[in-house]
């Protein structure tokens, strides 16, 4: 950041550990969330690579079957609770949301800091669980195994409980911020679509997460005191846990994908230099997904003995999720149509997601279907499906968003050619890893086993090679971003020519974001923003050029 030593911004106005750790600034909290998710991603990714290398050939190669059980549990728990759920809402959302609203901060800065600290405490507890006996229940903590295994379940569920409250407080903050801190003139339908997506996400976070909280507390109560609510030996019902768990965890899937969809709406519009197509359809479809997300959890229990009638109802409801999801995809494609597309890293990520989310979304329908799901349940087909959605769609969008807002966060440009290249490599590696897993699944290879029959060997080999490609590419993406902090060119306030408000403040922003209240307009109208080569960025068209009289009046007043 040598290029910015002279100007005061939120990165350099205070220094020292405490100025970051105890900060109330949403931008600093957003950055700390971002670095935390990156660190957790490296940890969870290492677990994934170990799993894939173990599966490179049948039999025991690298780790024992018990260690394998720990690894896949921790891979899931770390990636979900520490990476994906906080990724876009907490990291990008914290940084961008107040800027997009032209506000100085979120509504409750202290609660915002509390939720980051809770996230850290939860992360420490999860690591503690790893060190004190590990965790082999799968990230779902299904009873009765989770109440009988001798691994560190109590510490782990307490960690997940605390992280849950971090998520609730972030959601609460965003809802209050969007309701009460929009600037004059910004009506609901003049908000950027990321705000709609974050709003829908927050609704899910505040309504669903507490139910997970109580389910996890009951597991702890069960293990510590033997209350018996989930224990059939005491007259309890283990399926009740599955209901409570999925009442949270199915909506949680949309906590991962909805904000990603919001980021995509910004990326497609900006990099096509075209007004977003079907604004209100995209906005309403976010709300529709949030509502429907609460009434589809039963599709995780098709083989858990729930009644056939209930399964049929859940199946039909699950199909309806496809409608708002498809609306979004069609609108993004229509936004690109006849746009002036620039293949930045952000755009390449966004276009990858159309492919990955298309596959991930459509294969979801196979599992919503009762008859095919009986065959596919608990096979690698499911594994591949949710990786296409949660990694292929959510994490690719996250990385696309990180590249998009990187110049705003740090005031520097990353190396576009390298970023684009490694994003494409990760996209290819992703397909190589997970497309073969659909085949394994349809041919009956069960998930969560550390061994397999020789007939699956060549598919597993391809998959492992793909995983290594993703690992390398993600590492290089991080390296490219890291290097830009030292060597990147200075970024202008608006390098991409976007019309949302966060591009009206300096890059990086001052501690209080805006020196003067930004002018609110249509967030996707880019006609009044033009490229200025001497600024190496976009600027609003100077009204003086159109009407010199205005400037004369202003200069005489000054």
């Amino acid at each position: 950041m040598n290029t910015h030593a002279s100007s005061v911004n939120y990165l350099n106005h205070e220094t020292g550990f405490k100025s970051w750790f105890m900060t109330l600034d949403h931008k600093r909290l957003g950055l700390m969330y971002m670095w935390s998710t990156f660190a957790a991603m490296l940890l969870g990714g290492s677990f994934a690579l170990l799993l894939r290398f173990e599966l490179f050939s049948p039999g025991k190669d690298l780790v024992s079957k018990d260690v394998y059980n720990h690894l896949f549990t921790l891979h899931g728990a770390v990636m979900i609770f520490l990476v994906i759920i906080p990724s876009i809402p907490a990291a990008l959302g914290n940084f961008v949301l107040p800027l997009m609203l032209g506000a100085k901060d979120v509504a409750f800065p202290k609660i915002n800091r509390l939720s980051y600290h809770l996230y850290l405490i939860g992360a420490v507890l999860l690591v503690l669980a790893i060190l004190t006996g590990g965790l082999d229940t799968g990230w779902t903590f299904y009873t009765p195994y989770s109440t009988s295994t001798d691994t560190s379940v109590v510490i782990a569920v307490f960690g997940a409980f605390v992280i849950g409250f971090s998520s609730i407080f972030t959601g609460l903050n965003f809802i209050a911020t969007i309701h009460k801190m929009r600037p004059p003139g910004m009506t609901w339908f003049k908000m950027p679509l990321l705000c709609w997506a974050l709003y829908a996400t927050s609704v899910i976070q505040i309504l669903a997460t507490p139910v997970l909280g109580i389910a996890l507390l009951l597991i702890a109560a069960e293990r510590i005191m033997g209350v018996g609510i989930f224990d059939p030996a005491l007259g309890g019902d283990p399926v009740l846990f599955q209901h409570l768990f999925w009442f949270y965890s199915h909506p949680a899937v949309y906590v991962m994908i909805l904000p990603a969809m919001g980021v995509l709406s910004e990326l497609f519009s900006t990099y096509s230099r075209k007004h977003i197509f079907g604004y209100s359809f995209i906005a309403y479809s976010s709300i529709a997904i949030a509502i429907v997300s609460f009434i589809v959890w039963g599709h995780h229990l098709y083989v858990s003995g729930q009644s056939a009638l209930v399964s049929i109802i859940f199946s039909a409801l699950t199909y309806t999720v496809a409608i708002p999801s498809a609306i979004k995809v069609f609108n993004w494609v229509a936004t690109m149509y006849k746009g002036s597309i620039s293949f930045t890293t952000g755009m390449v990520s966004a276009m990858s997601v159309i492919w990955l989310f298309g596959i991930g979304g459509l294969t979801g329908l196979w599992m919503a279907n009762l008859s095919t799901d009986m065959h596919l349940h608990d096979t690698y087909f499911v594994v591949s499906h949710f990786h296409f959605v949660m990694v292929g769609s959510a994490l690719f969008s996250y990385l696309g968003g990180v590249h998009h807002w990187w110049p705003k966060m740090f005031g520097v440009m990353y190396d576009e050619a390298k970023g684009r290249f490694w994003t494409i490599v990760s996209f290819l590696g992703f397909n190589l890893t997970f497309l073969p897993q659909f085949l394994m699944g349809t041919r009956g290879m069960p998930r969560r086993y550390f061994d397999y029959h020789p007939q699956y060997e060549y598919l597993n080999k391809i998959s492992t090679i793909g995983a290594a490609m993703i690992g390398l590419a993600v590492f290089m993406i991080f390296w490219n971003l890291w290097r830009s902090l030292k060597t990147g060119k200075k970024a202008s306030p608006n390098p991409w020519g976007a019309a949302t408000l966060e591009w009206q403040c300096a890059s990086p922003p001052t501690p209080h974001n805006f020196d003067e209240a930004p002018a609110v307009g249509d967030p996707y109208d880019m006609s009044l923003i033009q490229f200025k080569s001497d600024e190496e960025g976009y600027l609003p068209i100077n009204p003086c050029e159109h009407d010199p009289l205005i400037c004369k009046v202003e200069s005489t007043e000054a």
Binding site: P109, K180, I214, G226, V227, I229, L240
Partner: protein, 240 residues
């Protein structure tokens, strides 16, 4: 900092006190919503087991002391009234009255916890606990029940000849009873801390008719704690 030209009661990121008040109160309502859903898991467990075993719940409910439950209901209702009155008083700037009313609220809350403690300790001594607890008289196998409870527990005679399966399910009722009232009790304790904090701030002079969000939000929280008890009392004590 840009707060020089701001009122000191106004956080820097708000435009005016009204926006700050609205945001705080709105945030509190959203938080109460999450609290309701936090309890909902236990209410779902209650509904499931009660609809599966209505006879068990009817039988088990007779072991709860309806009189103590009713007294506690009255105590909490009174405390909710004083909390609401405290909000009115702070709006009218009656500082000393606010302190008194919050004090009565705290006393009521402590009274509630004292009665709750009496109920819990009575149940503990009688072995009216969930099936897996050390002292429980609802263990499936009567031989497993601790001899001290068998000899001294007043209710042992009532349950010892029950069908083992029925007795075991009665233990689930007490599991749900202790989880629900225990979680509620934790909320009452948090409420006591909150009210004491509000009293201290009030005596320090932090509140005025223009700025009293904290009292308002604290009272809202307290009403929710009260409201949950209003549901728990009939659901647990008044089954017939």
């Amino acid at each position: 900092m840009s707060s020089d030209h701001h009122d000191s009661k106004l956080a820097h990121h708000f435009d005016d006190l009204e926006q700050q008040f609205d945001a705080n109160k709105f945030g509190m309502w959203v938080f109460l919503l999450t609290e309701i859903l936090f309890f909902s898991g236990l209410f779902v467990a209650y509904a499931t087991y009660r609809s599966n075993h209505p006879d068990v719940f009817q039988y088990a409910s007779q072991f709860l002391d309806t009189n103590l439950g009713a007294v506690n209901t009255a105590v909490l209702l009174l405390s909710s009234f004083t909390a609401a009155w405290a909000v009115r008083a702070v709006q009218l700037g009656q500082k000393n009255l606010v302190t008194t009313l919050l004090g009565i609220t705290v006393l009521c809350a402590c009274g509630f916890m004292a009665i709750k403690y009496m109920e819990y300790s009575h149940k503990y001594h009688e072995g009216l606990l969930w099936g897996n607890a050390e002292h429980s008289i609802f263990k499936e196998n009567t031989a497993d029940v601790a001899s001290s409870v068998r000899e001294h527990g007043h209710h042992w005679g009532d349950v010892k000849d029950l069908d083992p399966e029925f007795r075991r399910q009665t233990g689930i009722f007490f599991g749900i009873y202790f989880c629900l009232t225990g979680l509620h009790g934790i909320h009452v304790l948090l409420g006591i801390i909150l009210m004491l904090w509000l009293m201290r701030r009030n005596m320090r002079g932090d509140f005025s008719p223009e700025k009293y969000d904290a009292v308002d939000c604290g009272a809202l929280y307290w009403h929710l704690v009260d409201l949950i008890w209003i549901f728990l009392f009939p659901l647990l004590y008044l089954i017939s």
